[in-house]
Subunit: 232 residues, 2 copies
Amino acid sequence: MDVTLHDLCGADPTRRFSPYCWRVRMALAHKGIAHETIPWRFTQKATIADAGTDKVPVLRHGGRTVHESWRILEYLEDNWPGAPTLFGGEGGRALARFVNTWADAVMIPGLVRLIISDIPQHLAPEDAEYFIRTREERFGKSLAELTADRERAAKAFRQGLHPLRMVLRERPWLSGPTAGAADYIAFGPLQWARCVSAFPVLAADDPVHAWRGRLLDAFGGLARSVPAEDLT
Amino acid sequence: MDVTLHDLCGADPTRRFSPYCWRVRMALAHKGIAHETIPWRFTQKATIADAGTDKVPVLRHGGRTVHESWRILEYLEDNWPGAPTLFGGEGGRALARFVNTWADAVMIPGLVRLIISDIPQHLAPEDAEYFIRTREERFGKSLAELTADRERAAKAFRQGLHPLRMVLRERPWLSGPTAGAADYIAFGPLQWARCVSAFPVLAADDPVHAWRGRLLDAFGGLARSVPAEDLT
C-alpha cells in the first residue's frame, strides 16, 4: 500500500484515540485515499525515529514521511488536488489554521481536565507508566488532581465551545455546506475524549453533540467503528 | 454617492467607535468601494428605522439597505466580485463566520470587562443616558462594577486571544498572506476599545498588538485617523 499512517493505540490495538491522528484519518477518508493504519504505542519511539519525531501521526507516502497533523492535512490537499478539497480554497486553508490553533488552545486543554485520568487504564503497562510520568511532569499535578473538579470544568469547557456552537446553529458543518478540514480538526479532540472516557463532555441537546454524531456517522461510520467509552 | 454607511459616533461626530462598523469600514476600504459615512448616534433610531433595525452598521447601496456587519461583508463580496476578495473563496467565507462568532463570543465580552465604563464620557448626554440604562439592564450591573477588576480581567482577555496569537506568530495576517475579512472581524473589537479607552488591553510585546498596528496603518492609516484614547 502506498500510504501508511502510524496511529496511536491502547493495549487493545483497535482502540485508536489520538485527537491528532483522528484529524488525519478523517481527512484521508474525505479524500478517499487508500491507506493502511499501523497501530503505534507511546513507547514505540524507534519505529518512527526515521521521520524525525517521537510523536504520531506520521504519514508515509512512497519514500516520504510527514509528521504533525496540520502539516499532513496540507500535504494531502497539495498531493491529491483532484480529490475532494479539504480547505475549499486558500482562504479556507488559512482560516482552518485558526480553527486548529483554537482547538489546540481551547478544546484540548479543556478536555484534559475532564478525561485525562481515564486514559492510563486503556494503555499497555509500559505506555501507562510513560504517559503518567510525562503528563504529571508537564502539568505539575497528578492525573487524578487534574480531573478532580470535572463537573465544574465541564461547564467551562462547554462554554468555551460557544463559537463553534453558534456556527452549527446556522448550518450542519463548520466548513460550510459540506464537511472539511476544519470539522475534522475540531472533531479530533472530541473523538479522543469519547474513545477513552465515558464522562459526558457534551450535553445531549448541544448542537455540538449532534454535529459530533454526524461526523461519527460519516464515511460509513469510520469514527464510530473503534472501541469507545462514551456511546451517546 | 452610491454607497453610504451609518456609522456610530460619539458627541464628537469624528469619534467612530463601533466594533461592528469598523469591520465594514475596513472591508469597504479593502474592496476600494467609494462611499460616504454618516455619523449616527445611539438615539437616532428614526434615521435607520426604514432598514428594519435600530442598530448600525446600516449600509445603503442604491435603493437597497443591508444591516448587521456579517451580512454586509457578504453583500460586499457578492456585489463587488471584481474587487479584491474579502474571503479568498467559499472555504474562507465559511470559516470567516467562525472567526466572527469567536470574536463576538470571546473578544467582545472580554473587552466589556476592560473598557465599557469608559464609553459614556465620549457620548452626547442623551446617548450616555441611553447607553448606561440599556447596558446596565443587559448585564445586571453598573458599568463601574463591570470594569472594577480590570487588571485581572485583562489577563483573562489576553489569554483568550491565544488562538489568534498562535496564527500571528506564523504569518502577518489571520486571513493568510494578505489581510481579509477575518482580520477586520477580529480587529473591530480592538479598535472599539482603543477609540474609547486608554486602558492597555494588549501587552506591547504581544504579536496581536503588532498586528493591530499593521491594521491601523492599512489603507493610508484609515483606522488610525479617528480620535482615540489608546495611542500605543
